[in-house]
Amino acid sequence: MKRLDKIFVVTLLAVLAAMAVLPIALNLRFIIFILTLTNIFAMLAVSWNLLSGYMGLLSLGHSFFFAGGGYAAAILSISYGVPPVAAVFLGALVITGLGSLIGLPSLKLRGHFFALVTLIIPIIAYQVTNAIPQLGGHDGIFGIPSLFQSAEAFYLASLAAMAGSVMVSYLVMRSRLGIIFTCIKDDEIAAKAAGIDVPRYKLLGLAISIFIAGVAGAFYAYLNGVISPATYELEKASLPLLMTLLGGRATILGPVVGAYIIEILIETLKIEVLVRARLLIYSALALLIFMIFPSGIVGFLRRKVYGDTAG
């Protein structure tokens, strides 16, 4: 490992340790809630980045996988008495199966066509969920038991899950799969000519991405104690996209950096005076940042540290 990389890893671990200790030691209860939420959205952004950043399959419907994970975990907990921690992973597995099945035909599509199909999926899911009483209809599912007794334990679990998702993303991209995913993103025809079974690996990438989004969605449902069709909305679908583009597409830490910045921005703009102009300010800031950092903040920093040719 290069000296620069060692410094980077040590710094990262120190930041993670500080994030685990400081909010709890200082008893910042509101901040703990916001940070828990941020960790959940960071996970969602990491999942989006795997599929859309690294594989080049632009998903505009990640809210379906996110909400689906929440619904599946809630039903498993309430209707089948599955312990919450197990329900998080089982729920994520259920939506991975369902999402892969629905996504399978769309994997034959490329570029904008794939994006359009993924945009439609949450819209259909919204209507279907509304129409099914067992899913709580328009009001959703209430009374989801808490994942942990204390907010602090929930926060630490969300931090661990977020760090885990980053680690999964890192390991995938450093493995044989990482090279295969990059080949598919760069040129599908050349990838096939190089011997890559493109549909198979696209499906694998989609499944990994959905699983992480599903875990994030389950955490979200447990945090709020409720999951409703509103979770499918376009804002939730666009959040991971904005977070990743801001932090740095196809970078390991970019989605997390972007999630923290955007969540802080959202919470700050909830100050009453700014609420009305929230979307305007939010969009203008996003536009400004994209103009300054077209490859995202982490992409920009990586180029500064490793030079222009950093891959």
Binding site: T182, C183, D186, I189, A190, A193, A194
Partner: protein, 238 residues
Amino acid sequence: MEILRVEQLIKRFGGIVAVDNVSFTLQKNEILGIIGPNGAGKTTLFSLISGTEKPDSGKIYLNGEDITNTKPYHRALKGLVRTFQIVRPFKSLTVEQNLHAPLTVRKIHFNQEEAIQLLKKLGLIQKRNIPAAYLTHGEMKKLEVARGLIAKPRILMLDEPFGGLTVAEIGEVTSVLREYYEEGGTLVIIEHRLRELMKLIQRALVMDQGKLIFEGAPADVAKSEAVIKAYLGTDTVI
């Protein structure tokens, strides 16, 4: 020993017959050249053989196995590897990673020393650690040849490998292709740079308007009236 057999391949695009009843065989450790004017159907023939396009009719056999309905990746894993007329490098990957990719897919150990030697021969060693997106067109062409060779294919099909290269670069590519041939490799090359191609190949196929109009020794290509009429358009000899 026959390694590839193409039987009565036909491919239509609407009303145009791009490949019209083409049949030929390829022997192991042979260098076959395919020439013809633009639009003759050479690249479509490559696409049919590599599986990128499906034929309307006809059969393709690799080592006696019917591969007509198999997928492109399957043919590549069987050792039928192609390059493209319009370069298709994996732009986000470095030059060295581009060589790593075909081996990774095949779960073959990446021999870095071998890759370095190949890059040296092709004049790409200085660019080894930079993303392929930063290469010039000629360098990308050479990278495609290297990517094709690294997996030691049974048959390497090259679509205009000399296109856009300088004379020196053509020399580098020719040299590594000869080396591959001398180690038992089999090559099929589409090329418009006839002078350079004719020095390399043992047999030539000439296509025009989807049809195979000549098959024989390179020295006889220029003597064929059909070739002169269809390909050269005048009575000029090569």
